[in-house]
């Protein structure tokens, strides 16, 4: 088959997805914009009235902003990790999910750090972090790690987009002019020649290895922000690997949910098949077992040590946060394990359900890491108002959190309007490789 014709076919197949916007998607986009606007309003309220409008006080200085930050950044790192693995080891079914993973990686790395900015009381002093950095501070490491990782992920995402931009540039005669210009600019003269292809494959492969390493380093740094303090519940030597496993757990969960929604909404049953869900489900099963093991190990050692502050923390977890604890560490782990362990339960819907439970459970797990620890400090505040000791998120914080999620989904949709969610170049590469292996097989047989 002529490759140019195949490219044309694929461009034709995916162009409605890029160019046409249905009524449902318009309503959906409108809804997302509305949620974001509520978030923008909440932001201005917070900006003008200060952090008093949030639930954060002297005792609990970090609330759901930091939880969202960790959640999104973890999502990004796990996305980078998974994407790197898929590319580096040339996983057979990578083509259907790789772009979803890459988009998740970059978007969550953009959305996540915004929550840190919302958490900072004196935004006007933000530049001090860059003017007076302390290399020995984990916060500085995190800034360096996030910025380096963000740039790396952008480059990596762009590399994987280039061949598709080139296909769209050459086959979008009927597309709008701005779109043609954008494709031409972003395709940087890629003509899919052998040398160009080899060069691109080589740098993509190097970058995929790089993002795996970056994800591990950056993720560990994020965990060290907590574990290098002496706070009960944070000061743990296994926090870095625990964070990596937890991140992978949420990352795979979000990927499965995204796969389900994209498959259903864009009718991509032909590309995103049951086998992809089962593959992702089994990885989720393995990671959930690991996550469960780490969680048990973490709490078991705290309980067994009988240190007074750890005991106080565990008492808080089993009283005030009893149901959250049960959901995060029992339901959030055991339900996905039960669903994914038995073969007969492994349907697309049940795997997606398991992923949803895992993601929500993990968000609560993050909540339990941040808030109860801050509520049980070494020197407790006494004789003060309840709201100064305990934390409850206000509508401002919820509005901004949902705005973050809405922005994530909106940007995802907008990127899918720019490039197909299934890499066309990947399909062609697969077909080309199949053709080559057939040829060589034929050659062996005839010889």
């Amino acid at each position: 088959m002529n490759i140019e014709n195949r490219k044309r076919e694929l461009a034709k197949e995916f162009s409605p997805m890029l160019e046409k916007t249905t009524k449902t998607s318009k309503i959906w986009i409108g809804f997302l914009i509305a949620v974001i606007l509520v978030g923008v309003y909440a932001f201005f309220v917070q900006l003008f009235k200060g952090h008093i409008v949030t639930g954060m006080r002297d005792n609990v200085v970090w609330g759901i902003y930091i939880i969202n930050f960790i959640f999104f950044v973890c999502l990004s790192y796990s996305g980078a990790f998974i994407s790197g693995i898929l590319h580096f080891f040339k996983t057979p079914w990578k083509n259907s999910v790789s772009r979803i993973v890459e988009i998740i990686t970059v978007l969550s790395l953009i959305i996540g750090p915004i929550f840190i900015l919302l958490c900072i009381g004196r935004l006007d002093r933000l530049h001090y972090l860059f003017i007076y950095p302390r290399i020995q501070s984990p916060i500085t490491w995190d800034i360096i790690a996030i910025m380096t990782d963000l740039i790396g992920c952008f480059i990596y995402l762009y590399l994987t987009f280039i061949p598709d931009f080139a296909i769209l540039r050459d086959n979008s005669e009927n597309a709008s002019k701005w779109r043609q210009k954008v494709y031409k600019f972003l395709a940087i003269g890629y003509q899919d020649t052998t040398t160009q292809r080899e060069k691109l494959h080589k740098i993509t492969r190097t970058m995929s290895a790089m993002v795996i390493a970056l994800a591990i380093v950056a993720y560990s740094v994020l965990a060290w922000i907590f574990s290098l303090t002496l706070q009960p519940g944070w000061n743990s030597s296994i926090f870095a690997p625990y964070f990596i496993i937890a991140g992978l757990y949420s990352g795979i969960g979000v990927i499965i949910i995204a796969m389900y929604l994209i498959r259903k909404y864009y009718h991509l049953e032909h590309y995103i098949r049951k086998v992809h869900f089962i593959g992702a489900g089994i990885i989720l099963l393995v990671v959930s077992l690991l996550f469960g093991y780490f969680t048990f190990s973490e709490y078991f050692s705290r309980w067994f040590s009988h240190k007074i502050h750890d005991t106080n923390l565990l008492n808080t977890l089993f009283t005030r946060y009893f149901w959250v604890f049960i959901f995060a560490n029992y339901i959030g782990v055991l339900v996905p394990i039960v669903i994914l362990f038995f073969k007969k339960f492994r349907t697309i819907k049940s795997i997606t359900f398991a992923a949803i439970v895992a993601v929500i459970g993990l968000w609560f797990n993050r909540y339990l890491i941040v808030v109860p620890t801050l509520e049980t400090p070494y020197l407790p505040i006494q004789d003060t108002r309840e709201e100064f000791v305990h934390y409850t998120a206000t509508w401002i914080e919820w509005a901004l959190s949902f705005a973050g999620v809405a922005a994530f989904i909106l940007f995802f949709i907008l990127i899918m309007k720019l490039v197909p969610v299934i890499p066309m170049s990947g399909i062609i590469d697969n077909e080309r490789e199949q053709k080559m292996s057939k040829k060589s097989f034929k050659k062996i047989v005839t010889e």
Binding site: Q136, T148, I155, I188, Q196, K199, I203, T206, M207, L214
Partner: protein, 304 residues
């Protein structure tokens, strides 16, 4: 010091209840016998550096059989007299100590030999009998001079009494202690004897002093028969501070980060950014090749 001790034996049956109520001892401890306690009423005087005189009474009950068993009498009113002239009164503390400071400008009644007769008196209560002790001291003046003589830091002490005509009479002989103030107590530097009213001492050069190099120097006469306790003090900037140069190790909380941290971070960042650069160079090469192909195609199209 001429001291007349009037010791009274406690007989009253109320004593034990009185003492034990002070100390929170169990009232039910009926095994304790009241007569087994002996009252110790000690009176002393200290002439201080500003010429004021501290009068101090220690009022303690001591078990006759077990001498370690001591019970202070607190809140007992002690009156201090110079002959029959009441100087003031004070209550004993939780430790059984009553103190009263007589100002430096107080004019005392003295006998023909120049002795001041001081009396401390407890007038008794329902539970305790009257106690009284008398001491006789002469008013001694101590002058402490701290001078550098030929670059030698020298402590000069002058001790004298003043007779009725106002003439200074040097002290013939008395034991003297030179101390410096420390954080918890005084540190003794020298023990010597004042002769003909004077004492000289070469101050050591290795006393660090406080943060500013200041040293509080004391000259003390203790338990002298004629003068009681006399203290004089002066502050001088003779401290020899040797600032300890502490080499700061590279720690996470020190000014500079540990060297290994800079090295690791540099290797990591250089490695990563070099890869970004390598990627960017390759992208430019791809772009360049694309442009060349485009040019060739344009040329071919124009030829056709």
């Amino acid at each position: 010091m001429k001291s007349i001790n009037y010791k009274y034996t406690i007989i009253t049956s109320l004593l034990i209840a009185f003492l034990f109520s002070f100390n929170g001892f169990s009232q039910e401890d009926e095994a304790t016998d009241a007569s087994s306690y002996k009252m110790r009423f000690n009176f002393k005087t200290v002439k201080q550096y500003d010429n004021s005189r501290l009068l101090e009474v220690s009022f303690i009950g001591q078990n006759k059989k077990d001498r370690k068993d001591k019970i202070p009498v607190f809140d007992a009113v002690i009156k201090f007299y110079n002959n029959d002239n009441l100087l003031g009164e004070s209550k004993t503390s939780d430790e059984g100590i009553a103190q009263f400071a007589v100002p430096g400008n107080q004019i005392y009644i003295t006998d023909e030999d120049g002795y001041i007769n001081l009396t401390a008196k407890f007038e008794g209560s329902d539970g305790l009998d009257e106690e009284e002790e008398e001491i006789q001291v002469k008013d001694l003046f101590l002058e402490l001079n701290l001078e550098e003589i030929d670059s030698v830091k020298t402590v000069l002490v002058k001790a004298f009494t003043i007779d009725s005509l106002g003439v200074e009479i040097p002290l013939e002989e008395a034991d003297l202690i030179i101390s410096v103030g420390g954080m918890i107590s005084k540190m003794k530097l020298e023990e010597g004897t004042i002769e003909d009213g004077e004492f000289e001492f070469e101050f050591p050069t290795d006393i660090p002093g406080d943060v500013n190099g200041d040293i509080l120097v004391y000259s003390i006469i203790t338990d002298n028969d004629d003068f009681g306790n006399v203290i004089q003090q002066k502050t001088v900037n003779w401290g020899n501070i040797k600032t300890k140069i502490v080499k700061e190790d590279n720690k996470l909380w020190s000014e500079a980060a540990p060297i290994w941290m800079y090295i690791v971070l540099t290797i990591l960042l250089v490695g990563v950014w070099a890869n970004y650069l390598y990627t960017a160079i390759n992208l430019f090469k791809i772009k360049k090749e694309g442009k060349e192909i485009e040019l060739k195609e344009t040329e071919l199209n124009t030829e056709h």
